[in-house]
């Protein structure tokens, strides 16, 4: 795995005007039917640097490539409407120095991003500014340096900064998705762990497909992953370091362990252990290897997920007779059922903001992805389909990614498994492009924090 560390060298200046009257802002709490028109001027690259980057990265104009990364990100958020470049009147280098705001407001841009990329001491140095076109003001300016190979990440970091400045919340663009890549007939699917950037680029396979692998999940604090592997036909939870490729079995259980997730501090793994037809929830401390049994009930207890403060666990149990969602304290006490709607509930996962639990619901032959408050109130279904499950939160808690399967005919034709994302508002449902069929997505935290 390539070095993903990003060296932020200089934080040039970050201007947040105190007299912010009339300054643009984007409300992300509602479904946004009027995305903000924004102009992303191609980043300027002077001629010496352009040649260097052409040699190094085989890119005609790296400035244009970085700005298209930004544009795609902004567009996929559903909150912004990046304007067509053909309509831009000002040249990138001049716009970056001092935009002629009349030109930009003429094409209805409300915000403008300009910038410059340089090749400096074998590094890529980028400087960018965000402008409020209507107020005629600079809103933000930032510069940083990284290795040239990281150029896509430069686009993601710019997007994160712009998103944060305009919405007031952290972005989710400099992130990755780990998932299960699927190929072959339904009766004999070959599954591999795969990882890609949030926008579908830089796909890498982490396993070869020799054994069945399922449900990978990121450690929220670093680049470790936990997942279920059928290595040697023994289904066990594994821990994988995606930097080094080193992996190990988690714990020494005499049977199947599954449904793993990390605790919010990344120090524990919580999972199910199945024995004699009964699945209970356990944790293992990754430092001292101490295993604790958290639930003790003759029903199926699975799909555990910690609250972000680590004090509570939500999980799936059929102790009432059917699959429902429960919450308990992290020591296993005070178990309380929270799902009471019609149908079956599964895969609860606590929002990184702490206030909501996302879930899968099965009712009358349809599958829904929904959210409810942590006490079970305020249930809201975001999307209905033939089959979909396993939501995972973006690190800012605004977007859910999940997988959806299509119905097959009696020969198994017509089947597919794809990743989809949807905003917490229920708007902006999107197919997340993957090279193969895909399932079990898990969203990483921001890489550059």
């Amino acid at each position: 795995m390539k070095k993903i560390k990003l060296y932020i060298f200089a934080l040039l200046f970050l201007i947040i005007p105190k007299t912010s009257f009339g300054l643009i802002e984007v409300d992300i709490t509602r479904g946004n039917l009027n995305p903000l028109p924004i102009a992303v001027s191609p980043l300027f690259v002077e001629s010496k640097s352009i040649k260097k980057f052409q040699n190094l990265l085989k890119k005609e104009n790296i400035g244009e490539d970085i700005s298209s990364v930004v544009e795609n990100n902004l567009k996929s958020s559903g909150l912004f409407n990046p304007l067509k470049k053909e309509a831009f009147l000002q040249k990138p280098d001049i716009a970056h120095l001092k935009p002629r705001f009349e030109d930009w407001s003429l094409i209805k841009a409300q915000a403008l991003i300009t910038g410059e990329v340089k090749y400096e001491n074998e590094k890529l140095r980028v400087e960018f500014r965000l402008w409020d076109v209507l107020a005629g003001k600079e809103m933000m300016a930032l510069a940083f340096t990284t290795v040239p190979d990281n150029w896509r990440r430069v686009g993601h970091i710019i997007t994160d900064k712009v998103y944060q400045r305009l919405t007031g919340e952290k972005g989710y663009f400099d992130t990755r998705i780990i998932y299960v890549s699927e190929e072959g007939p339904k009766t004999n699917r070959v599954k591999k762990l795969a990882i890609m950037d949030q926008d579908g680029f830089n796909t890498k396979y982490l396993t070869l497909g020799n054994e069945l692998v399922l449900t990978p999940r990121f450690n929220p604090t670093n680049q470790m992953v936990t997942y279920l592997s059928y290595f040697k036909n023994l289904p066990r939870v594994y821990l994988l370091d995606i930097e080094t490729g080193v992996q190990e079995v988690v714990g020494d259980f005499p049977g199947m362990t599954f449904a793993p997730r990390f605790s919010p501090d990344g120090k524990k793994i919580i999972m199910s252990f199945a024995k004699d037809g009964n699945s209970d929830i356990y944790t293992m401390d990754l430092e001292n290897r101490i295993v604790e049994k958290i639930t003790n009930h003759p029903s199926i207890d699975t799909s555990p997920s910690f609250s972000p403060d680590g004090k509570y666990i939500c999980f799936n149990s059929d102790r009432s007779g059917y699959q429902q969602i429960y919450v308990m304290k992290s020591d296993g006490s005070k178990v309380k059922r929270i799902s009471f709607g019609k149908g079956l509930y599964g895969t609860p996962v606590w929002s990184p903001r702490g206030d909501l639990i996302a879930f899968t619901k099965l009712h009358k032959g349809k599958f829904y992805i929904g959210v409810m408050r942590v006490d079970g109130s305020g249930e809201r279904l975001l999307t209905e389909n033939y089959y979909q499950e396993a939501p995972s939160w973006s690190p800012n808690g605004r977007v859910l990614i999940f997988y959806r399967e299509t119905k097959s005919d009696s020969e198994g034709k017509g089947f597919s498994a794809k990743l989809w994302s949807i905003d917490l508002t229920g708007y902006n449902e999107r197919l997340v492009d993957t090279k193969t069929d895909a399932s079990d997505p898990s969203w990483s935290s921001l890489l550059s924090e």
Binding site: T187, S272, G277, S303, G365, K407
Partner: protein
């Protein structure tokens, strides 16, 4: 006259349709009782007259009368072939969440294991593995296909 012929053809088509759909319904009801598969399409045999698998209702791990009969045959055969060990593979259909289905498959295989043990087969000879919904035998998305996939299969381990 022409019209008459057309009418006759239509009638024939309609009758054929009724006949075919009757067949289809009959076929399903022959192969399922409630939603438990009772057919033999996918069944293999450990030995002559000893079916290798039992089927379950949706979300259930209760053994049906037919399943218990199959498992008694397996137990009898295992008693005669005392050197054979088996793996019980538990499966679920595709209409459930992946993690719950892994637990459900394990519960189904253990229901079969418990029954074999009550008929004198040592637990040491039986291991259990759940595949959840990962290894369907029928790749269709219809109730009959799902009923074939909700199963516990006894496989020789040596």
């Amino acid at each position: 006259m022409k019209l008459n012929k057309i009418f006759k053809n239509i009638l024939f088509v309609v009758l054929a349709g009724i006949f075919l759909s009757a067949c289809a319904t009959k076929k399903v009801s022959n192969q399922m009782q409630g939603d438990v598969y009772t057919g033999k399409d996918t069944v293999e045999y450990l030995a002559s007259g000893v079916p290798d698998r039992v089927f379950f209702a949706t979300n259930e791990s209760v053994l049906t009368t037919a399943s218990r009969e199959t498992l008694r045959k397996q137990a009898a055969w295992l008693r005669k072939n005392s050197k054979v060990n088996v793996v019980l593979e538990g499966h679920a259909d595709e209409r459930g969440t992946r993690e719950y289905n892994l637990a459900l498959g394990e519960r189904r295989a253990n229901a079969a294991k418990d029954y074999l043990m009550t008929y004198g087969i040592s637990g040491n000879r039986i291991s259990v593995i759940s595949y959840g919904k990962e290894r369907p035998v029928d790749s269709g998305s219809n109730p009959l296909a799902w009923s074939k996939n909700r199963r516990s299969v006894t496989v020789k381990a040596n």
